[in-house]
């Protein structure tokens, strides 16, 4: 259940291939890639910088994956999150989950993204046509994470 926080870009195809490599129990692989858009909250975005809390980030991501593993019958999971300076169309995050059946891997993948959005210590600073600004947390993200409560 690897977790990586890095400045470098990642190769989605290579990561997914490695995650499922040679395991014939795997019938389903769900994945999500988050990308930098050129617009946010109505303003053009020319670049962004991602700051994080080294140490806590890895712990938080590992805990989120652990929680997903307790909730669903999955085989493996991977989270890679980039930090530093990023431009529109750049990849930000990859979440991938393998398992025997699609219901479980879809649910676990979405759960990990929702929890990552509200519990992993990353912060985005955007450069827009109106200047630089820290991105505000979205209430929709809290709601997305809340729906996983029993």
């Amino acid at each position: 259940m690897p977790v990586r926080v890095q400045e470098a870009d990642f190769d989605v195809g290579a990561e997914l291939t490695a995650l499922r490599q040679g395991d014939p129990r795997i019938g389903a692989l769900a994945s999500f890639v988050g990308l930098v858009r050129d617009v946010n909250d109505g303003s053009g975005v020319s670049e962004m910088t991602l700051e994080h809390y080294p140490g806590m980030t890895e712990k938080a991501l590992t805990a989120i994956i652990g929680e997903a593993s307790r909730r669903w019958a999955i085989i493996d999971a991977l989270v890679i999150h980039r930090v530093g300076r990023l431009l529109p169309t750049d990849q930000i995050v990859l979440v991938a989950v393998t398992g025997a059946h699609r219901g479980e891997v879809f649910a676990a993948c979405q759960f990990i993204m929702d929890y990552l959005k509200t519990r992993a210590p990353f912060w985005k600073r955007e450069v827009t046509s109106e200047g630089a600004r820290w991105v505000d947390a979205r209430e929709a993200d809290d709601q997305a994470a809340d729906r996983w409560h029993d």
Partner: protein
């Protein structure tokens, strides 16, 4: 003496003008709320710290609450709601 390490992130780091500090806690300060009151009492750019809406805190890299206790050597972090992904 109870010394803690304090970290500030993102917009909060810019607001207080520093990313980290070591602080000796006076005898009466035993939890996160007490530490926040101590910092706010510095005045100036620190003043609003105890009343910021949605301020988040972690102690030893776990999410904490106002009544979370503080011990010597703890790492305390203050930051805004997270916006990764």
């Amino acid at each position: 003496m109870k010394t803690v390490k304090i970290l500030y992130f993102a917009g909060l780091r810019e607001r207080v003008g520093q990313g980290c500090e070591q602080l000796e806690l006076p005898a009466g300060v035993s939890d996160v709320a007490g530490l926040l009151a101590l910092l706010a009492a510095r005045g100036g750019r620190w003043q609003g710290l105890a009343t910021i809406r949605n301020l988040r805190c972690a102690v030893n890299q776990e999410m904490a609450r106002p009544d979370s206790p503080l011990r010597a050597g703890d790492e305390v972090a203050f930051f805004p709601p997270v916006t990764g992904g």
